[in-house]
């Protein structure tokens, strides 16, 4: 029974991994459909919590959600089965093309194609930037963090890891200050 559930988790997440093109966010509706509607592994409320947690913990959203749904369904082995499933299709496809990709890019017609594609990819990144800007909290501190992160990464060439750590520290400190203020008032 348990084994059947593990196999089913693995196959379902392998299917999700195989049919998602683009980013992890494209995967969320698929995970919702498979895990809630089709298999009933988690409830509708659970999946909302799971996605919220997947977005606020480190790591790609797709891996986070797969691990979480797997755990809820069949414990630690379940999360291993689901994560392995979601990773497997990418791994196989990319591993198979990795050997030829570099030579492939040396062909003239491909070079021309990539000259167009590179400009298109920068547009895709700009679109992702616009989406994330819309979703980001605004306000003075927000704009300062945004500007500081941009300048430090683009021009001062500070490693992104340090900028993430610094922003997280600002978050913790401001939560502590908010807490203190609340205690002072009461």
């Amino acid at each position: 029974m348990k084994l059947k559930k593990l196999v089913s988790l693995f196959l379902t997440f392998a299917k999700i991994g195989a049919f998602t093109f683009g980013g992890g966010y494209a995967m969320i509706p698929l995970i919702q459909r498979e895990a809630v509607t089709k298999n009933g592994w988690v409830s509708d409320d659970d999946i909302m919590d799971i996605i919220a947690i997947a977005e606020s913990t480190p790591g790609p959203v797709a891996i986070n959600s797969a691990t979480f749904v797997g755990y809820k369904t069949a414990g630690v082995l379940g999360s291993a089965a689901a994560t392995l499933g979601v990773v497997m299709p990418s791994f196989i496809v990319i591993y198979l093309i990795s050997g030829v990709l570099r030579e492939f890019q040396e062909i003239k017609v491909i070079k021309y194609a990539f000259a167009g594609i590179r400009a298109g990819v920068i547009a895709l990144i700009c679109k992702a930037l616009m989406n994330m800007y819309k979703k980001a909290p605004k306000g003075l501190v927000g704009y300062i963090l945004m500007g500081a992160a941009f300048i430090l990464a683009a021009f001062v060439k500070i490693n992104a890891v340090y900028i993430i750590i610094a922003a997280a520290v600002v978050g913790i400190v401001s939560a502590i200050i908010a807490e203190r203020r609340k205690n002072d008032l009461s």
Binding site: A113, A115, G147, A168
Partner: protein, 193 residues
């Protein structure tokens, strides 16, 4: 020890990416540049490959760079590295902290991380865009290639805002590149590459 290096580098990328997709780009770009694993141009090419193949950028990039640098076991180590932080952290949260996403410290950290990630992706646009639009900096500007890149960029941004699928955009950009590349070559107007 290349396997350990790949594992630890992708572990770092996995551990410091918040949000999906392009949020990991600034980190990945730092690491591939520091280790000389890929030029910015190759990274942009790979993003296109990743968008047109199944799966998420994080896994695709780990698998590809791992394979390029260390063969089969290299790609296993890199992929494992990018997955392990998620896996461990989610198991801990799922087991002990179901209230995680409503904790006030977590909320405050996320509230401050999001704008910083926006700034970081903005910086990735600059550092990845420069080799695309101005591969030789401000000297030796190839006007033909620059005008072409700006036109494709503008058209694709418009289509992306219209919510057209990324694969369609990549296909169209490729077709334009091939068409304009050969027209430029045959008519001697200019070269794209």
């Amino acid at each position: 020890m290349i396997y350990l290096k790949l594992f630890l580098t992708f572990l770092k990328i996995g551990a410091f990416t918040f949000g999906g997709g392009y949020a990991m780009l600034p980190l990945m770009q730092n690491e591939v540049a520091a280790n000389n694993w890929m030029t910015p141009e190759e990274l942009v090419n790979f993003i296109a490959v990743s968008e047109s193949t199944p799966g998420v950028l994080a896994i695709n990039a780990a698998t590809y760079i791992g394979a390029e640098v260390g063969g089969f076991w290299g790609s296993v180590c890199a992929t494992l590295g990018v997955v392990v932080p998620s896996f461990v952290i989610i198991l801990i949260v799922a087991r002990f902290l179901m209230m995680f996403s409503s904790n006030k410290y977590v909320l405050s950290v996320m509230k401050h991380l999001k704008p910083a990630v926006v700034g970081l992706i903005g910086s990735a646009v600059i550092t990845l865009g420069q080799p695309v639009f101005l591969p030789n900096g401000f000297k030796d500007i190839n006007i033909f290639a620059l005008c072409f890149s700006i036109a494709v960029f503008a058209l694709m941004l418009f289509l992306a805002i219209k919510k057209k699928h990324p694969i369609l955009l990549i296909g169209l950009s490729a077709a334009l590149g091939i068409a304009v590349g050969f027209i430029g070559e045959w008519t001697n107007i200019g070269t794209l590459v």
